[in-house]
């Protein structure tokens, strides 16, 4: 069903550093808030607010920072992929060595 795509020379691999980093950016906030024992305590309080509450509230904007980073990383990655001539996708795959460059 899926159209056959041949990776052309110079195309980015499926797993690129930018994609890995973006994945990690998305993973951090999820792991942090799911690790409940790390923050289910009252001290240190901040302005009268127990740790449990201000720590989680603090992670709301932090998670947005991480997600924004992932977005920027992926956008750069996609731009880099687009820069590679799209001919590779349009034209049926050539046998190795058949292409002159």
């Amino acid at each position: 069903m899926s159209s056959s795509q041949s990776p052309s020379a110079g195309a980015l691999p499926v797993v690129s550093p930018a994609r890995v980093l973006a994945g990690l950016c998305l993973l951090v906030p999820i792991v942090v808030v799911l690790w409940v024992p790390s923050y289910s305590k009252t001290d240190p309080a901040l302005g009268g607010m127990p740790f449990f509450y201000w720590y989680q509230l603090m992670w709301v904007p932090l998670s947005a920072v991480f997600t924004t980073s992932a977005y920027l990383l992926l956008r750069r990655d996609e731009a880099a992929r687009k820069a590679v001539p799209s001919v590779a996708v349009q034209v049926p795959a050539q046998p190795d060595g058949g292409e002159q460059s």
């Binding site: 808030v33 799911l34 302005g47 709301v60 992932a70 977005y71 992926l74």
Partner: protein, 539 residues
């Protein structure tokens, strides 16, 4: 008859009237040429940019009921109610990789609902209708709860609550009649436009509340002291109504509830409708990064539950309805005119999601039940007409639900709806990345998840209700108490994996996949999107 606060009432009604006018005018807003297509009425022409989408999704996901229920839970149980914060923190990074793919494939193939996608991906009518019906079932009580939100406000305003049933519920009838009328005529454009008003009101009210109320109550230190006092175990019975931080036994349920709810959030038809109405893939991504602004508001709002404790709301009244904690706090603390503004925020806050939910349920019914099974030759204009009528029926159904059955039933059903909608996640999320799963295995997994969740929820009693009183139960194997929706999801996944292996070994027919790999990363402006068929002609 209780005392009616006329100043607050007048302000409330003024906002309500303004929003009604906007709702009807919305049909002229960004009007398209082919108004008879379902993607016009049901998805606003798939034309919303980053900011409109931000307002729309914010207005859609953070519902009036959330504004009532989250602080009510914090008021009653303390830390357990705060799970809404990790829940909304997790939701966006979790779906960041999922929703852009759903947007792309839906844009290329003209899908209006998730069930459309499932149909196209797996070539399975059975799986598609299972997803559609689950969506409709889960959405109905959610619409009903928006009514409960409006009721809470009207109750504190002194309207309703006594007299004969007709007079008592008349304001609710009027509010919903008006809502139904402009949703009918304007479609998704109405809630999109009203969302601007709703979200602005919500931001103003919450910011004022979290600064002004603590000033009057003697600061956050005092507020949390009062809460700590309430949640101190009784020296005789050693029982406490809740706790200030999650105890060791409650941490699993806190985390699983947050994770399961986050995954379920974007399986709901109304969330998907908001996402698919975006004009580009990057619009969706950018929104995942900027929507947490609303989560911050929700977190601050949750703290209002503690403020209600400190302000002595409902103190000594054993029968006090926790749902009224926040409206009552506003009425006690704010001057009348601002109470009106705050109540308008909740009231208008109920209208936006109720409109989007009814549109989403109507889209599901029209595309995946009516066209699929009843009238395969329906024209685009037929679809739009049926969807408009279906949106009315959804609202009437929700109204009947609240009036005939008790409020508690709506709350129970909504809890159950969350468990159910999560069971569509395996087919949907897996389908966006791989075609490995077999369609029959996914259907079986869905059925197992639904049955498990319903059976477990049935067995949970709470002080308010005999069945469906909660959503946490002991997880098999692990032995900790966790969210049954997530346990059902894991079971669902296991069944789907095992049966896929079996069915593949038996060489059961796979079903046709009409999507191609490149469809999942298509962006607006791409060739594939430009030559995309009109949504209603997709099949």
């Amino acid at each position: 008859m209780k005392h009616v606060d006329w100043t607050a009432m007048t302000v409330f009604l003024l906002f309500f009237a303004a929003v009604t006018v906007m709702g009807f005018l919305a049909s002229r807003w960004r009007r398209a040429d082919d108004a008879q297509h379902l993607h016009e009425w049901g998805l606003g022409g798939r034309s919303f940019g980053t900011w409109i989408t931000w307002f729309l999704l914010g207005g859609d996901l953070y519902t009036a009921y959330t504004f009532i229920a989250v602080p009510a839970l914090v008021y009653g149980a303390g830390a357990a109610g705060f799970f809404a914060v990790p829940y909304t923190i997790i939701a966006y990074p979790l779906v960041f990789l999922i929703l852009p793919r759903l947007w792309s494939v839906s844009r290329v193939h003209g899908y209006v609902t998730t069930a459309d996608f499932v149909r196209g991906r797996y070539g399975s009518r059975g799986l598609s209708v299972a997803v559609a019906l689950t969506g409709i079932l889960a959405t109905m009580p959610y619409v009903a709860l928006q009514l409960v939100g409006i009721q809470a406000v009207l109750d504190v305003l002194g309207v309703g609550g006594s007299g004969n049933w007709f007079l008592q519920d008349l304001p609710l009838f009027l509010a919903f009649g008006v809502l139904a009328a402009y949703t009918y005529s304007s479609g998704l454009r109405a809630p999109a436009l009203i969302a601007f008003v709703k979200d602005t009101l919500v931001y103003v009210v919450i910011l004022v509340a979290v600064i002004y109320i603590p000033m009057r109550l003697g600061g956050y230190g005092h507020i949390f002291d009062a809460a700590a006092h309430k949640f101190t175990p009784d020296p005789v019975t050693h029982k406490a109504p809740g706790s200030l931080v999650t105890g060791p036994a409650a941490q699993w349920s806190y985390a699983t509830l947050a994770f399961g709810s986050a995954l379920a959030l974007f399986m709901y038809p109304h969330s998907v409708t908001g996402v698919l109405a975006a004009k580009s893939r990057n619009t969706v991504r950018r929104n995942m990064a900027i929507l947490p602004t609303y989560s911050l508001m929700l977190g601050l709002l949750a703290l209002l539950g503690f403020m209600a404790i400190a302000a002595g709301v409902g103190k000594g009244d054993k029968k006090f309805n926790a749902q009224l904690a926040v409206p009552q706090l506003f009425a006690d603390m704010f001057p009348s005119w601002f109470t009106g503004v705050a109540f308008a925020a909740i009231g208008v806050g109920a209208l936006v999601p109720a409109a989007i939910m009814s549109i989403a349920a109507a889209n599901l019914f029209t595309r995946n039940v009516y066209k699929e099974f009843l009238r395969p030759d329906a024209t685009p204009a037929d679809e739009t007409r049926v969807a408009k009528i279906a949106s009315l029926l959804v609202k009437v159904g929700a109204l009947a639900f609240v009036l005939v059955m008790d409020k508690q039933a709506a709350i129970n059903m909504q809890l159950l709806g969350g468990v159910w909608i999560l069971q569509t996640a395996v087919a949907l999320v897996a389908g966006l990345f791989t075609r490995w799963f077999h369609r029959w295995a996914l259907l079986a997994g869905w059925a197992v998840g639904m049955l498990y969740g319903t059976w477990k929820a049935y067995g949970i009693a709470s002080p308010a209700t005999k069945h469906f009183g909660g959503s946490a139960a002991k997880i098999p194997v692990i032995g900790e108490v966790g969210y049954i929706g997530l346990t059902g999801f894991v079971l669902n996944l296991l069944v789907a994996v095992v049966l896929t292996l079996v069915l593949r070994a038996l060489k059961a027919p796979e079903g046709a996949d009409e999507t191609a790999r490149a469809d999942y990363s298509a962006e607006a402006g791409d060739e594939a999107v430009e030559r995309a068929p009109q949504p209603t002609l997709a099949h």
